[in-house]
Symmetry: C2
DNA sequence: GCTTTACGGAAACTGAAGTATCGGAACTCA
DNA sequence: TGAGTTCCGATACTTCAGTTTCCGTAAAGC
């Protein structure tokens, strides 16, 4: 079955060249029919609608395709798995921007806390725990999650702490990971671990932000102190 | 098709009496071959082994049955779903007892924090997020979770806070739900949301417990203050 | 002994994820 | 303009795993 020989080698090299040319072309202008951008939006919208209507565990790819008016192939052309599709749909309209300078560490932390509350309380019930399980079941999803959601929130926290140092409220910047965990964790626990009243969440979050601000100010006091 | 009549009525009443007798008998001594207690243990042990070896998402009921040397029917006779089986297996060897009085609020909170760290960090990777998603996908599991894991931890927290009030360290007891969220949340976030270094977890937890103790002491100061 | 339930084993059923294929359309490049 | 490539919706198919059912057998109470 071996067809080796001079002619065969030339053919192999030609194929390699064509392959590289294709790779290069794809960088600038992909060949073939371009993807319809409206399909991406329709998939994400359908997924979000069905998540809200039926819940995370009941969501099926067939239902998303049907609701979006697209074929399943169009979905799997864009997302490797059902979980990746849901992740993209949920992250799509999640805005995680650093809030503007509010003038003090306490006010800045309160604003960051509100961003966290919104990002956790907005998705339909069951979506956040479901996604978290999927993230822990697949290394690729974990990297995606850490690079988008976690990083965006971490940047918010770091920025707010740097502002406080710049203002002279803090002598040195505390560990952002620690502050991040102390803000995000209790809110997550309130919603998804302890099943506490969602109506009392915003009050709890306000208190939490004030507590953390007081704690940081007390331990790494204002610049100029011993 | 109606077979009503005096004789029929007597038969109905007899059936009712038999039914009640059966219900009563079941309370004291169930009829038929009793369940083999070793089967329960074998199922739980096999599930825990396979969770540790293969991970949460890869666990199948067939594998558990095979490893335990039992039939699948024996599993479904005991647990309504695969998720309930895993829940029972994981909760089986989880000890959540209130630590003994350590003499101060700070020391007591540190001990409770260690209990929480153990309960979250001991299960194999992926098990805690997976179970949490299942809990949020089924109301029955949610009630079970709230009544066992959450309640046990909450009782620890409440007891420790009451001790502090009794000692005079705190003027009044803070909301146990709030304190619970502030202890459990950051640890959960450290492990499962932020993917921080597990080696630094115990240090973070110690700091966290001290922070919360200082916070509570500062806001609802010792008895006797205004 | 009769009835009921549990046991392991195995087969059957069911739903859903993911893949393959089809006829047709859109785009690039030669 | 035509060849080659990719996308499109639609549908059938494969595969896998949860759940149910059935079998012959064993252990308990009446």
């Amino acid at each position: 079955m071996r067809l080796a020989g001079p002619g065969r080698n030339v053919g192999y090299i030609t194929l390699r060249i064509c392959w590289f040319r294709n790779r290069l072309a794809r960088m600038t202008q992909p060949v073939g029919r371009p993807r319809d951008g409206r399909v991406d939006g329709a998939i994400a919208a359908a997924a979000r609608e069905l998540l809200a209507e039926q819940g995370y565990a009941q969501l099926t790819v067939d239902a998303v395709a049907s609701r979006a008016g697209v074929g399943k192939a169009a979905i799997y052309r864009r997302h490797a798995t059902k979980q990746a599709m849901i992740f993209a749909a949920v992250m799509h309209d999640l805005e995680l921007e650093t809030p503007p300078d509010a003038g003090s560490l306490a006010a800045d932390l309160a604003a960051v806390t509100r961003v966290i509350v919104t990002s956790l309380a907005t998705p339909p019930p069951g979506v956040v725990p479901g996604l978290l399980a999927d993230v822990h079941a697949d290394g690729g999803m974990a990297a995606m999650f850490a690079g988008t959601f976690v990083k965006a929130e971490r940047d918010c926290v770091t920025e707010v702490l740097d502002r406080a140092v710049g203002r002279g409220e803090l002598a040195c910047r505390p560990d952002p990971a620690r502050v991040h965990a102390m803000l995000l964790g209790p809110i997550f626990a309130w919603l998804f671990l302890l099943f506490e009243d969602r109506a009392r969440l915003s009050g709890f979050a306000e208190t939490l932000a004030a507590d953390v601000a007081r704690l940081l100010a007390a331990e790494t006091g204002p610049a100029g102190r011993p």
